[in-house]
């Protein structure tokens, strides 16, 4: 069973000619089949965690370990991490001019699977996955993320999730900027992948809204660069009612060890 283990992760970023520590000792274990929601106020470091796990060069790891099935993730390049089974659905997917969605998906699937998917089954696979996400077939001929609406970008991310079948999916604010209909379609896509039981999901969000569609097994509250409280789905209800104010006070307090799972 695939397991992602994050231990005492410290991450800094360079900003305005100064080094700023964003993650201050994150501990988390996500197992295949589990869904963990990470919730927290803006600026708490949630997205930094997502991008650090994926290997974005903007972030410097200054301490701690990340392993996937015992393999050192931090030693891997960005593409190696993806091939090892990590997937990051991005909050702001970038435009890639000149590359069509269909070409991109096939190149990506070829890289992840280690061989080019057979054309006939691949075309069907993509078409069906797009239908499930209510995507127009013409979408495949557009350039990656070029001129996509917010909802189209997120659907495209989830389409990739369905096709690439990672071991660990990190969804960075996939719900942001979506209307209720788009949120439902995207959530259904995530749930289809979760129901296979073959993916561990790290759902990063600011709002509890998406948790009505995607039921987490664990909820972690993120504040000032670390997890400050962990619990079951009921913790989300508490956040819904009380907001993040209670946690803001914890800034600077040593809350290490407050991790379940």
């Amino acid at each position: 069973m695939a397991t992602l283990e994050i231990r005492d992760l410290h991450v800094t970023v360079e900003a305005d000619n100064a080094t700023k520590e964003i993650l201050k000792g994150v501990d988390l274990t996500v197992k295949q089949g589990e869904t963990h929601a990470i919730m927290g106020p803006n600026g708490s470091g949630k997205s930094t965690l997502a991008y650090s796990l994926a290997g974005h060069p903007k972030y410097t790891i200054t301490g701690g370990t990340v392993t996937l099935d015992g393999e050192d993730v931090l030693e891997m390049s960005v593409d190696e991490r993806a091939r090892a089974g990590l997937f990051l659905a991005m909050q702001y997917p970038v435009e890639v001019p000149g590359v069509s969605v269909s070409n991109f998906l096939r190149t990506s699937a070829t890289a992840i699977r280690g061989e080019a998917p057979k054309l006939r089954t691949w075309v069907k696979e993509v078409r069906e996955a797009m239908e499930r996400l209510n995507m127009d077939p013409a979408f495949a001929e557009r350039n990656v993320n070029e001129g996509f609406s917010g909802g189209e970008k997120k659907r495209h991310e989830i389409l990739q999730l369905e096709l690439l079948k990672p071991k660990m999916a990190i969804l960075d604010e996939t719900d942001s900027g979506l209307d209720v209909d788009a949120l439902r379609v995207v959530s259904e896509g995530v749930n289809r992948v979760r129901e296979t039981g073959e993916v561990g999901t790290l759902l990063i969000t600011h709002y509890t809204r998406i948790l009505r569609y995607i039921k987490p097994d664990f909820v972690h509250v993120f504040s000032a660069g670390r997890i400050v409280e962990s619990g079951g789905a009921e913790l989300a209800d508490k956040l819904e009612n009380e907001g993040y104010e209670a946690y803001a006070k914890l800034d600077g307090v040593d809350t290490k060890g407050g991790v379940s799972a």
Binding site: G55, P57, V94, V96, S108
Partner: protein, 394 residues
């Protein structure tokens, strides 16, 4: 890491659509067209037509100090049966018929060449094999003139290959008879020190079709000036260009389509990729629709893809319209960059870095390459683009 942005720091895009009573395309030049080099002052670099060009790197082509040497370029013409290949003097009536030099280097080339090459495809002759002209630089300086003439209803493909090292100034004339179809592929695959400045003049006959594919990869400075005029209504011109500008290279393509006759079409598409410090691409697209050119249909587009920091693009489309009685007229110019965020996105989907770059560049050029319509040329271009990318990665 740079933030994602659409316009690289070193780029300009300035476009204009002018509705003018009098052409400024012509008046923007420092002197009227002439075959005599003495009619042009030595440029100092501030003139409109020279302001982007590094004159100090032209090896004297612009100021009269460049002198032809014995080891300039070796020109070989391979033509199928039925085609006439001649070397003629400057008194030959076919020379200069397609157009007159518009700047000092073109006039210098006309004033200094020894023998001009003339390739003639007789009327109604349809060639099934391309005419291949190899221009190989042997390290010296040369001035050239080449005429390619198609009689009425003749059809031909001409591939002109520039390789080796040379300092070359030239004029190339394309004369298309009525209903003729000419495709010319001019490949600038020079060694790194070469300097190549040329004016291409096409005169498109009634109902004739001219397709020009300009491919520039090599050289220190390449400055080409393809120009099109029409000899009768119903003419069509497609001008495609593809360039890959590397570190330190200056590649400049200046185009003019002069809609001087009614009911003609033109379509200009130039695309370039740039990589490396001081890679500089310039694209000037002038389209003039004269008052008498009713029924004109024209479009021009330039796209640039900047792959690394330190490269610069200047892209200037100009559309000048003297009549409103036209089918269509438009232009577009855009410069985008392949940046670290795009690289991260593709790599985060398992795609290795070199593959990611290749994917983007191939995609960028693919649409243009497919329009060339000559499979062996298309394959060669794709291979050459791959080679450029490999060199950059290494």
């Amino acid at each position: 890491m740079a933030e994602a942005q659409n316009i690289p720091v070193g780029s300009t895009t300035a476009g204009s659509i002018a509705v003018a009573a009098e052409s400024t395309v012509a008046t923007r030049m420092s002197a009227p067209p002439s075959f005599d080099v003495a009619d042009f002052p030595v440029p100092h670099g501030r003139e409109e037509e020279w302001r982007f060009t590094p004159l100090e790197r032209l090896r004297g082509l612009h100021d009269g100090t460049a002198v032809a040497t014995g080891n300039g370029v070796k020109v070989e013409v391979k033509a199928p049966e039925g085609v006439t290949v001649e070397a003629v003097g400057r008194d030959d009536a076919r020379l200069g018929k397609a157009g007159t030099p518009v700047d000092r280097v073109a006039a210098q080339a006309y004033s200094a060449f020894e023998k001009a090459g003339v390739v003639t495809v007789p009327k109604e002759t349809v060639l099934t094999e391309p005419i291949r002209i190899s221009v190989h630089g042997e390290g010296g300086t040369a001035f050239g003139h080449q005429v390619i003439e198609l009689g009425a209803f003749a059809e031909a493909v001409v591939v002109i290959d520039h390789t080796g090292d040379a300092v070359l100034a030239a004029n190339v004339d394309y004369l298309l008879g009525d209903g003729a179809k000419l495709t010319v592929v001019s490949v600038q695959d020079w060694d790194e020190k070469a300097v190549h400045v040329a004016q291409h003049n096409a005169l498109v006959g009634r109902d004739a079709s001219f397709k020009s594919v300009v491919v520039t990869f090599g050289g220190d400075v390449v400055r080409l000036h393809p120009r099109v005029r029409y000899a009768g209504p119903g003419g069509e011109a497609e001008l495609f260009g593809l360039y890959f500008t590397d570190q330190g290279q200056h590649q400049e393509h200046r185009l003019l389509v002069d809609h001087n006759v009614p009911h003609c079409k033109s379509n200009v598409v130039y695309k370039g990729a740039l990589q490396g410090e001081d890679a500089h691409a310039v694209w000037i697209g002038d389209v003039l629709i004269e008052a008498k050119a009713e029924g004109t249909d024209t479009y021009e587009m330039n796209r640039n893809l900047v792959l690394t920091d330190g490269a610069r693009v200047d892209s200037v489309p100009n559309l000048e319209i003297e009549t409103g009685e036209i089918v269509g007229a438009g232009h577009a110019s855009a410069t985008g960059r392949f940046d670290d965020e795009q690289l991260f996105y593709l790599m985060a989907r398992g795609i290795p870095e070199h593959e990611a770059r290749r994917l983007v560049v191939r995609g960028f050029f693919a649409e243009l390459v497919q329009q060339i319509g000559l499979p062996d040329i298309e394959e060669r271009l794709i291979a050459k683009i791959e080679e450029e990318l490999e060199a950059a990665v290494a």
